[in-house]
C-alpha cells in the first residue's frame, strides 16, 4: 500500500505550507510529521514527502540524511540517547552508558530484540550543568546516577 498521511496530518501539512513563502522550506516540518506518522523515513516515505513538496526524491533524501534526528531505519519504541560530550564526561557519563548497555544487553547504535529500546550516544544537549544526562524520546533525564537510570528504564520497559 502506498504511504499516505492521515486526514489530520494532511490538514497539518496544509497549515505548515502557510508558514513559509517557499514550498521547499516546508521540508523539515513535513519530515517531522512523516516521522511521527510512519516511525521512520523509508524510501517510500521520502518519495511521498517529495511529491507533497514538489521536489525530487533525491533532494528530499539528501536533506533528510544531513540531519541526525531523522530516522533512516526502524527504531525501538524508545530511543535512549546519552550525552557523552565533555561536561557530561567530566561527571561520569561513561558510567551511565555502561550501565545502560549492560541492562539492555545492546551496544551503541543497536536495538533490543523485543524492539523496545534503541541506544545511542549524542553530542551536547544543552544540559551540561545537570549531567550526566540522557534524552529518551522527547524527554530529558538529568542528574543521573546508575540507580536512577535503571529505575527509568524499568519503568519504560514495564509501560
Amino acid at each position: 500500500m502506498a504511504v499516505e498521511f492521515s486526514k489530520e496530518s494532511k490538514a497539518h501539512f496544509e497549515e505548515i505550507l502557510t508558514r513559509y513563502p517557499k514550498k521547499r522550506a516546508a521540508i523539515m516540518p513535513t519530515l517531522w510529521l512523516a516521522q511521527k506518522d510512519f516511525g521512520y523515513l523509508s524510501h517510500e516515505v521520502l518519495a511521498y514527502v517529495a511529491e507533497l513538496i514538489e521536489e525530487s526524491p533525491a533532494f528530499v533524501a539528501s536533506v533528510a540524511s544531513f540531519y541526525t534526528m531523522y530516522y533512516k531505519k526502524p527504531m525501538g519504541r524508545h530511543h535512549v540517547q546519552v550525552c557523552t560530550n565533555l561536561s557530561c564526561a567530566l561527571v561520569g557519563s561513561d558510567n551511565i552508558v555502561n550501565c545502560i548497555k549492560e541492562k539492555l544487553g545492546i551496544g551503541l547504535g543497536e536495538t533490543t530484540p523485543d524492539g523496545k529500546f534503541s541506544l545511542d550516544e549524542v553530542e551536547c544537549l544543552a544540559s551540561c550543568g545537570t549531567g550526566p544526562m540522557m534524552q529518551i524520546d522527547d524527554d530529558y533525564w538529568e542528574g543521573l546516577t546508575t540507580e536512577k537510570t535503571l529505575e527509568i528504564l524499568e519503568k519504560l520497559a514495564a509501560g
Binding site: R24, M69, Y70, T84, A89, V91, D138
Partner: protein, 431 residues
C-alpha cells in the same frame, strides 16, 4: 546585581504563563513602544545601550540592525535558538521558563527593523522547548500581543517556530538560513551578510535568544541603565553556564565582566572534594583553554580576548586535577569531526585527522611525531574555510597541546593513557 532580569522566572513562579507574565509588567513595554515611539528611535536606543551579541561573536546588535538596506521593505527576523555549543545551556532556560520575554523582545526588535515575519529556529532536541514556545505564541496571539494589528497600531508580526533536526552547524547563522530554506545546512560564503541577503533572498537579522531578551529590558529601563551594568564596552547582564567540576554547576545571571575566579569559587562554590583546579574552558568547547593560573580574568568580550581566549557562548567548563587533557581533547575532536558539514576540505579532512590523532594518543598506536602533527593540522585548518567551525576545532587543539604538552608527550611515551583517564573521571564524579 541581585535583581534578575533574564532569569526572572527564578524569582516569579509560573512566569511562563501569559497572565503571570503580564501581571509582572510583561508586554507593557511593547505596548508603550509601539504606541509612542518610532522604529529609528528604537535602533538608536539599542545602539546607545552598547548591547553586543550573546551568540558567540559579540557583534554590536544595534549596528547590525542598522545594516539593513533601506530600499527593501521585505525582511525577516530569525532567532537563533539552536544552542549546541558544548558547555552551553542558557538559552534553554529562557525558552522553557520565560518564553514571553523572548516574544516581547521579538515584537520590539521586529518593530525597530520594520519586519513582519519572524522565525525561531530551535534545535530539534528541544522538543519540550518547542512545545512551550508554540503554546506561548498561541497565547500571545490570542492576547493581542502578536499577530495582526498589534494593540491597534497597525503593526503585524507573525512568529513561526521552526524545529531543527540535529546538526550543530545550524547554529552558524548562514547554515541556519540554509536549513530554514529546507536545505542541508551548508554555511554560505560571506559577504553578502544576512542583513543584505538572508533567508528567502531577503535582508535578514539573525540574533541569539539571550541577545534579543536584552531588548525589552533596554527599552523598559533605558540604554543608560543598561550601560551601568558591567564594563563600558560590553555592558549588560550576562548568563554564565558553569559545568564540570564545581560544587554548584548551573546558569548564573551576573554582570558582564564577572571575574572568572569569583565565578568558580564564590558563585559556584569551588571544586568538589578538596581537589585542585587544573583548567577552564571559558566560552564553550570552541575556545582556547585557560590553565589554573590564568583565571584572574574578567568575563567580557574584550578582557577574555586580551587574555588569549574568547567569551564565545559563555559555556564555562571546569576541570579538576584528575582530568586527563588528552581524553578531554579527544572528546572535543570527536565533536567537531562529527559536526563538520564537509563543504571545505581543510575542515572535513582536518577534523578527521585531529580525531584520529587523539584516538592514537589515548588508546595507543600514535607515532613520535603525532603531537607536532596535531599542531600542524590545526594550523592548516585556520582561516581557510567558509565558516569558522574549522577554527573552532583548531583553537582548542592548539591551546591544549601548547599548555599541556608534557601530558601529551607522556601519552606518547607510554603508548596510551597512563592513568586510564576514564577511571579518573568516574572517580572524581563520585568524590
Amino acid at each position: 546585581m541581585s535583581e534578575k532580569i533574564l532569569l526572572r522566572h527564578e524569582d516569579v513562579a509560573n512566569l511562563r504563563e501569559l497572565d503571570v507574565y503580564v501581571s509582572d509588567g510583561g508586554y507593557a513595554t511593547a505596548l508603550r513602544v509601539l504606541k509612542e515611539r518610532e522604529p529609528e528611535d528604537i535602533i538608536e536606543e539599542v545602539k546607545a545601550s552598547g548591547l553586543r551579541g550573546r551568540g558567540g561573536a559579540g557583534f554590536p546588535t544595534g549596528m547590525k540592525w542598522g545594516f539593513l538596506p533601506k530600499d527593501n521593505p521585505l525582511r525577516y527576523l530569525c532567532v537563533n535558538a539552536d544552542e549546541s555549543e558544548p558547555g552551553t545551556f542558557k538559552d534553554r532556560q529562557i525558552l522553557e521558563h520565560n518564553p514571553h520575554l523572548l516574544l516581547e523582545s521579538m515584537v520590539l526588535a521586529a518593530y525597530a527593523i520594520k519586519c513582519h515575519k519572524a522565525y525561531i529556529y530551535i534545535r530539534g532536541e528541544f522538543a519540550q522547548g518547542a512545545k512551550i514556545l508554540e503554546e506561548a505564541v498561541r497565547e500571545a496571539v490570542a492576547g493581542g500581543h502578536l499577530g495582526e494589528d498589534i494593540y491597534g497600531t497597525g503593526f503585524d508580526l507573525d512568529v513561526v517556530v521552526h524545529r531543527g533536526a540535529g546538526a550543530y552547524i545550524c547554529g552558524e547563522e548562514t547554515g541556519l538560513i540554509e536549513s530554514l530554506e529546507g536545505k542541508r545546512a551548508y554555511p554560505r560564503v560571506k559577504p553578502p551578510f544576512p542583513a543584505v541577503y538572508g533567508v528567502f533572498g531577503a535582508p535578514t537579522i539573525v540574533n541569539n535568544v539571550e541577545t534579543l531578551c536584552c531588548v525589552r529590558p533596554i527599552l523598559e529601563r533605558g540604554a543608560q541603565w543598561f550601560k551601568t551594568i558591567g564594563p563600558e564596552k560590553s555592558p549588560g547582564p550576562k548568563l554564565y553556564c558553569v559545568s564540570g567540576h564545581v560544587e554548584r554547576p548551573g546558569v548564573y545571571e551576573l554582570p558582564m565582566g564577572t571575574n572568572l575566579r569569583e565565578l568558580i569559587y564564590d558563585h559556584c562554590g569551588g571544586i568538589p572534594g578538596g581537589k585542585k583546579l587544573k583548567a577552564v574552558i571559558p566560552g564553550g568547547s570552541s575556545v582556547p583553554i585557560f590553565t589554573a593560573d590564568e583565571i584572574d580574568v574578567n568575563m567580557d568580550f574584550d578582557s577574555i580576548a586580551a587574555a588569549g581566549s574568547l567569551l564565545g557562548s559563555c559555556g564555562t567548563i571546569v576541570m579538576n586535577e584528575d582530568t586527563c587533557m588528552v581524553r578531554a581533547l579527544r572528546i572535543i575532536a570527536r565533536f567537531y569531526r562529527h559536526e563538520s558539514c564537509g563543504q571545505c576540505t581543510p575542515c572535513r579532512e582536518g577534523t578527521g585527522w585531529l580525531e584520529r590523532l587523539m584516538i592514537g594518543l589515548e588508546d595507543g598506536g600514535a607515532n613520535d611525531r603525532d603531537v607536532d602533527l596535531l599542531m600542524q593540522v590545526a594550523d592548516n585548518m585556520m582561516g581557510n574555510t567558509v565558516c569558522v567551525l574549522a577554527d573552532a576545532a583548531a583553537m582548542p587543539t592548539k591551546s591544549f597541546v601548547t599548555k599541556f604538552r608534557s601530558e601529551f608527550e607522556e601519552h606518547l611515551q607510554h603508548g596510551g593513557c597512563p592513568q586510564r583517564s576514564a577511571e579518573a573521571m568516574r572517580a572524581s564524579a563520585h568524590a
